[in-house]
């Protein structure tokens, strides 16, 4: 289970964020004492840090700058200070992403999983059962047979694969597609999923994508 540290001084926001992450299958670790945040950051063994900019006693950007000297654990800045200056500053101090409040939780998850994936997969090929997933070629390869996926199908398949065995909602799939400049509508999503199913059947995976009524899809 991925551990995510939350550094957010607004109590209600922190609690809701913890709950949100817990429900999504992460292990949230919330910082509650703001006197020695820097030490807590260094001591914590986590996979990702969500860091607010406006904190009591200290500025998130300064914390980040200090933290980067000793660690390259991914950090996502969460802030209501929505200016380009803050974003440029944060990115130059080594933030991996910059998300402004109020955030759409679906988009936040997308960012979190993208950042986690970037830091985890350093060239290792992803597998789906006995098929190799090639994001570079945009295809699935099983026993030498290659099945080409379209960009949309690949985005959908990736998201389902990252959360294999879990329910992925249509809303999440749609957000992921839009986030990749594919502004599809409901019908197009259904069409893409049935085409993806067809291609998986051809590779010998019948019933790979299960539909959960009113909830979403599960890749098995």
């Amino acid at each position: 289970m991925k551990r995510i540290m939350i550094i957010e001084d607004e109590t209600s926001l922190r609690d809701e964020l913890s709950l949100l992450l817990k429900n999504a299958g992460y292990e949230p670790i919330a910082v509650t004492d703001y006197n020695n945040v820097s030490e807590q950051m260094k001591a914590a063994n986590v996979d990702l840090i969500l860091l607010d900019i406006n904190l009591p006693n200290v500025n998130g950007e300064t914390l980040l700058q200090e933290y980067r000297r000793s660690s390259d654990t991914p950090v996502i800045m969460l802030t209501s200070r929505n200016t380009e200056i803050d974003e440029v500053l944060s990115m130059s101090y080594g933030a991996d992403d910059f998300v402004t409040k109020p955030y759409n939780p679906t988009i936040l998850f997308l960012r979190i999983s993208a950042v986690l994936k970037r830091s985890a997969s350093k060239g290792t090929a992803q597998m789906y059962h006995d098929a190799e997933v090639s994001t570079v070629k945009g295809s699935l390869i099983k026993n030498g047979t290659e099945q080409i996926l379209t960009k949309n199908e690949m985005i959908i398949f990736q998201l389902l694969l990252d959360r294999i065995g879990e329910i992925v909602t249509r809303d999440e799939l749609m957000t992921a597609l839009w986030d990749n400049d594919e502004f599809v509508n409901d019908n197009a999503l259904s069409v893409n999923i049935s085409r993806l199913r067809g291609k998986l059947v051809e590779l010998g995976y019948p019933d790979a994508i299960e539909t959960r009524k009113k909830q979403g899809y599960v890749l098995k």
Partner: protein
């Protein structure tokens, strides 16, 4: 200052001189002073008066001519006092001091307003950050409770908050943006994702092309601008938005076109004016006339040009023209 004007101004003085001289003449004749002596005295006194008057005229003229020409050349008339040399004649000095004092007082006055304005703006910024926290909290609570019913309203609240923030930013004289290369594609898709639910609820089709280009702008401001255009498209019944980038050697143009109800030709020149609502505002939906005004102000401040064209019932197209200045590029 013309000589005739000067003479007319001094007419009373000349009248007094003449009257006194006429009285003196009466006395001189009464005492049987020789006529030749009277003539010589008259001519000498006349010459003296003319010389004195000419001197007074010339030195006043030099000061006032410079004052008038400075005044007509200055685009900020209140800087006049900075241009003037102190004259040596008394009324000129009085005027000069008065102008300087008035100017100083005005500067103080303006500084005070500027300070108040800045404080107000800083408070707005602070307030916006504060109000966003409960909105963010509510949004997370809705998600955690599995309730999506309030999302639309929360998004609207957030939109209105952004409007206030950018209105304050657009009106302020302070430079709180940074110009750097920004990907049109990235900004557009970010705005689209943020508004995805509403766009899909309206059955909106988005078509983008040639957005793989960077423009010199402030990313956050541009994303607000595009958000405004998108919310107008939604407001005025568009079902399709076509966004296209066009690259020229000296500029990049972003075309934002929708197939909404369009703008009447007679309203078109005024759509960027503050609080202008026009025919669409009256007959259609609630319009504050602020959206496009803020868009224009922000574009002006960033140095972009914004243009609109429309055919009623067919389309509305807003084009933003980004300059390409090599000096901009600071790597």
């Amino acid at each position: 200052m013309k000589l005739t004007e000067f003479i007319r101004d001094r007419l009373i003085a000349y009248l007094i001189y003449t009257t006194i001289w006429a009285l003196v003449l009466v006395f001189l004749f009464a005492f049987h002073v020789p006529v030749e002596a009277i003539i010589i005295a008259s001519v000498l006194i006349m010459l003296g008066v003319i010389a004195a008057e000419m001197w007074a005229f010339l030195r006043k003229r030099r000061f006032y001519e410079k004052l008038m020409s400075d005044l007509s050349q200055l685009d900020k008339k209140y800087l006049l006092s900075e241009m003037l040399d102190e004259p040596e004649f008394l009324d000129g000095r009085i005027l000069h001091n008065a102008i300087c004092e008035a100017d100083k007082s005005m500067c103080e006055h303006i500084a005070e307003y500027r300070r108040e304005n800045k404080n107000f703006r800083e408070y707005i910024e602070l307030w916006v950050h504060e109000i966003k926290l409960p909105v963010a909290g509510l949004q997370l609570m809705c998600h955690n409770d599995g309730n999506t019913r309030y999302n639309e309203q929360l998004r609207r609240i957030d939109d209105y908050i952004e409007n206030v923030l950018y209105y304050a930013r657009s009106e302020s004289a302070e430079k709180d943006y940074i110009i750097k290369p920004v990907s049109l594609k990235r900004v557009f898709s970010e705005v689209a994702v943020r508004n995805r639910e509403e766009l899909q609820a309206h059955g909106m089709n988005l078509k983008t092309s040639e957005l793989d280009t960077d423009v010199m702008t402030d990313g956050k401001w541009l994303s607000f601008i595009i958000g405004q255009l998108m919310s107008n498209s939604l407001k005025y019944d568009a079902t399709e938005i076509i966004v296209k980038g066009e690259d020229f050697p000296d500029r990049t143009v972003l075309h934002f076109r929708d197939n909404g109800i369009g703008i009447p030709e007679s309203d078109l020149p005024f759509i960027f004016d503050k609080t202008f609502t026009g025919e669409n505002g009256r007959t259609h939906k609630k319009s504050t006339g602020m959206g496009l005004y803020i868009v224009k102000k922000l574009c002006d401040r960033l140095g972009h040009t914004v243009e609109a064209s429309s055919v009623q019932g067919e389309f509305t197209e807003i084009s933003i023209i980004f300059g390409k200045n090599e000096l901009y590029k600071i790597e």
